[in-house]
Amino acid sequence: MASGQVSKRVKFKSSVKDPGTPGRLFLTLERLMFKPNSPNSATKLNMEFKFIKNHRYTKEGSNKAPMLNLTSSQGVSYIFEFESYDDLQVCKECVGKALSKTGETPKPVDTSEVPSEQPSTEELLSRMNMLRENRAWKDDGKRVQKPMLLYFLKKSKKVLDISDFFLYELQKLHKRFVRDGILTEAEFWATRKKLLGANSSKKSKQRTGLKSVMLSDTKPSTDGRTNKVTFTLTPEIVREIFAEKPAVHQAYMELVPKKMSERDFWSKYCRAEYLQHAKSANAAAAAEAEAAEDEELALFLKPDNLLAKETKRKIKCVDPTLDLEADEGDDYTHLPDHGIVRDGSKEITESQRQLHIRTLSQELNRHAAVVLQGTPIDEEQLKDTQTVAEALNQSKHGQDTSNEEADMNANQDRLSRISKMMEIDDLQASSDLPLAPLSIKDPRDYFDSQQASALKTSRDTSIGTDPVKRNLSAGESYASLRDSISLIKTTGLVDPIITPEVAVKVLSVLTHNISSTKYDLGKNPGLSVLDTLPNTIKEELLYHWTSLQELLRHYWSSYPITTTYLYTKVSRLKDAMSKIDSQLQELKESVLSDLRHQVTLLIRPMQQALEAAMQHYDAEMQKRSARSAERSNGYT
């Protein structure tokens, strides 16, 4: 049962020990509200599920009271104590739905039950997700069901196209860290948000607006032979029909399923539609006749009074800037069909035309209105007409309950805003915002930002040349240059330009440095060094490497240390890393001499990375002890 709203009698507690304030908990899919019984009590709650990070609940049979604990993204936890476990159950489901809809965390299932059938990607991921959630909750890493994880991974491998190796790795890492309590499940999975979130992000919390196309032209499709007409109704169409024809909606609400079955409700509706659109006079007559002896049918045929009511209300709050009088002339209804042909057939007898046009234009307008009003329903609810009706009803309800005045002045400010926008552009002051000025004094600094080596040289050459320049004035130097030019002009080039010896020398020098570069180019092989190693070593190396990466990632990401939690985490990580470091050392010793060189080469960068981390750690420790202000500007 997918009800929009659940409301239960609960006690709202800020903490488990808190006696709590009695009241009612209202859960819709978007938000949860807590209204205390005593109006004067301050503890109200009205928040969107967006902000709920995850939720836990006490198990049935455990001697605890039935409690639901919702943790918000800010880490605040709202605890609701229910009267019975079934209440809890209901709310739990609802919450789960809501949360899964907001895409944060999917609805939890009891970890112990193993899914029988091949799960879909989402489900699977949600399970993996859930897995981590639950673990995160009961934080003692001991009760981790290893097989479970494996199972999910195996499955997920089928679903997501992750390489076997990757899974293998993941699993190993998990074993290595989570089991040994170096990382908590939460942390472990947090870095893999991508993997998990890959699909979960797909089903976004966005709701689509109403389609602008008119679905509800339920066109009768006739097959030539029999005179049987078939109408096709998708939930979407139904929804639109409901939205645009309140009367039908109302009828549906009260007739189905009590008085008549869904099916013949719609068949009636369609018949009515058909009769309405029937062009021939006699068909119209027939309609009259039938309507006479069938009040439901009549109900479809007679003009919709609800609509009329609404339009009246609407008229009251039309945007002041546009005057309806002006549009009077623009009523094209005197043209046949505004040139629009509704359903293919052009020939309309004079008699019906007027009416037909009216209906058409009305429907157009009505549709436009609905689209603009935009009471969207989520895709999940487009399952069956029943739910559609329900949902729509609620949304309607929501609107109606909001009393007239509020509605009105809500309208007013909307109007005022609109009219503000409607202001003719020319009259508007140019709204482009002031720009930030930039004052750069000395572009030379940018050169100085060049690499020091070259910088220095250029600098001290400048120093070098300066004195020379000084002792020889500009005039003289120019003169000397001009002399040398005229020298060439008179005597021509020095001949020969270069002596053979020099030439040979230069060429050989150049050739030498060419060939020298060639060698270390040639040294760069096509296949990576790893592949040259025997598999076992390679495996081990990679294993260490990946785990190292994992640790480091956690390590660095947990700076700057703001909470004690992080502090402990870091220290944990540090120990783990030092462990790996020693392991690496062993590995290096263990390998055979012929490979040792490469292995050491490969290991060196890892160790460097480790050292960097360690040093950083120590530095931080000193800072912490020294209470230096450094951390505040984030020098991590």
Binding site: P496, I497, P500, A503, S508, S515
Partner: protein
């Protein structure tokens, strides 16, 4: 009639084919050195230049150091070429290490050229008399061709059946005329002369190649006229470094050169002028472009007949006349040629259907028929396309492709259509006495892999003609 065959693929091959001592003599002339250097492949150029100031030999290894793995072949080619032209002299020492040394004269010449530029054997005369302007020169060159053209334009396919060499070209010198005469017509008994296959192709060639063909032919005939080709070559090259429009005194020329230059004047390469006491010659654009065409190492099909040369001359004229391209091809296979030249019209007519001719515009269409006639005349699709591309109107040439793809493709397709069927002369064998002889025959044919077709039911097979003999032998053996 005697056909002159020239094996040289381009000028450099020709030079390379000269005997050693003649080569060395060529290298005496700085300009020839320059021209030849320019004609070398890039890598070779590089080697020469960077060895310009070496006195000793340089080892091949050293050079190869500079070449990346994928350039080794280029390296070899370059070296070969250099040795071929005797610019490098190879020396192989006992360790099979080859080392190279630059040709002495060549080296010295180039060095000189670098330091104090090339020195022409003759200075331009102080312009005592009024020299013709460049335009005048061009028109002069043009007229020279016109002379020849008058004699030839009757041999265009369009005018096939006009009576052939009715009027002789008047003032072409006899030696030149001989060149033209030779192979001018492929004259089957008594019916009108016609262009050879080469003729058509020649029409579609680019200018410099054509210029080169004339000269090459001219040179190749030089022996008959008892002049040393080497001299001619050097002279021509020299000529090409003269300044267009400058006047040079005739007295500075050797006897041979004087003869040569008269004939060249007929070609319009130079203009001769007779002063009161002395005479001088003025190189035209054509002359100064010689080296360009010479160094152009495009290896094109060879044609023997000097007729093409003459045709080529008109072609060149046109290129001179409107230096810019002129043809616009539209996707609907229409050709618009902005030209008033008759010859142009003729050239287009080779492969397209000329629809009408406005004062300055020729409108034609490429049709299947027109192309087929072209193909019959041995013109290939590529030649046509390249012609269209090379003469594309500048405005069109800007955008690529200058000729619409659909046109080029269609032309290629049509050509392909022609070669769909290929002929192989063959023999049919049937009425085999027994199946196994038949089989044996088949196998035999197969292993000569010349079995074209077999029909085991009717016991017939077709084999290539060339193994007919062996087949017969084999079958005899079977009996």
């Amino acid at each position: 009639m005697p056909q002159v065959r020239i094996i040289a693929k381009n000028f450099m091959d020709m030079v390379a084919s000269l005997p050693a001592m003649k080569l060395d003599r060529l290298y005496q002339n700085a300009f020839i050195c320059e021209a030849i250097l320019r004609s070398l492949p890039p890598l070779a150029k590089k080697y020469v230049v960077q060895m310009l100031f070496f006195d000793g030999p340089i080892s091949g290894k050293l050079l190869e150091e500079w070449v990346l793995a994928d350039g080794v072949t280029k390296h070899k080619v370059a070296i070969d070429r250099l040795i071929q032209l005797r610019i490098f002299t190879e020396a192989v020492d006992k360790k099979r290490e080859s080392s190279y040394k630059l040709n002495q004269t060549f080296q010295v010449n180039l060095q000189k050229h670098l330091t104090n530029g090339g020195v022409l054997p003759r200075e331009p005369m102080a312009s005592t008399v009024r020299l013709p302007s460049l335009e005048e020169l061009d028109t002069y060159a043009h007229e020279q061709w016109e002379v020849g053209s008058s004699s030839l334009c009757f041999h265009y396919p369009s005018h096939l059946h006009c009576s052939g060499q009715a009027e002789k070209p008047t003032n072409l010198s006899s030696s030149m005329m001989r060149i033209f005469q030779r192979g001018l017509l492929t004259q089957r008994d008594k019916d009108a002369p016609r262009l050879t296959e080469g003729g058509f192709q020649f029409l579609l060639m680019d200018t410099n190649a054509q210029l080169w063909y004339i000269i090459r032919d001219y040179i190749s005939n030089s022996e008959e006229r008892g002049t040393d080709p080497a001299d001619l070559i050097s002279f021509l090259l020299e000529l090409s470094f003269h300044v267009t429009g400058e006047a040079y005194n005739m007295n500075t020329l050797t006897e041979i050169q004087r003869n040569a230059i008269k004939e060249l004047a007929d070609l319009g390469l130079v203009k001769l002028q007779q002063g009161r006491k002395e005479s001088w010659f003025i190189p035209t654009k054509l002359a100064t472009n010689l080296s360009v065409s010479l160094t152009d190492s495009s290896s094109r099909k060879q044609f023997a007949s000097s007729l093409m040369i003459l045709v080529g001359m008109f072609f060149m004229v046109i290129v001179i006349m409107h230096a810019t391209g002129h043809v616009v091809v539209e996707t609907n296979f229409r050709i618009y040629a902005y030209s008033s030249s008759k010859l142009h019209c003729e050239i287009l007519r080779l492969f397209s259907k000329i629809e009408y001719q406005l004062p300055n515009l020729i409108v034609g269409a490429i049709t299947k028929e027109s192309l087929y006639t072209a193909f019959d005349n041995g013109i290939t699709a590529d030649q046509i396309i390249s012609f269209l591309q090379q003469n594309a109107h500048p405005r069109v040439a800007e955008r690529l492709p200058s000729v619409p793809e659909n046109v080029t493709d269609q032309i290629r397709l049509w050509e392909a259509d022609l070669n769909r069927v290929e002929m192989t002369s063959s023999h049919l064998y049937d009425e085999f006495p027994s199946r196994d002889t038949f089989e044996a025959a088949c196998d035999f044919a197969r292993e000569w892999n010349s079995l074209l077709w077999e029909d085991s039911k009717k016991m017939r097979l077709v084999v290539k003609a060339e193994i007919h003999m062996n087949m017969r032998e084999f079958l005899r053996g079977q009996k």
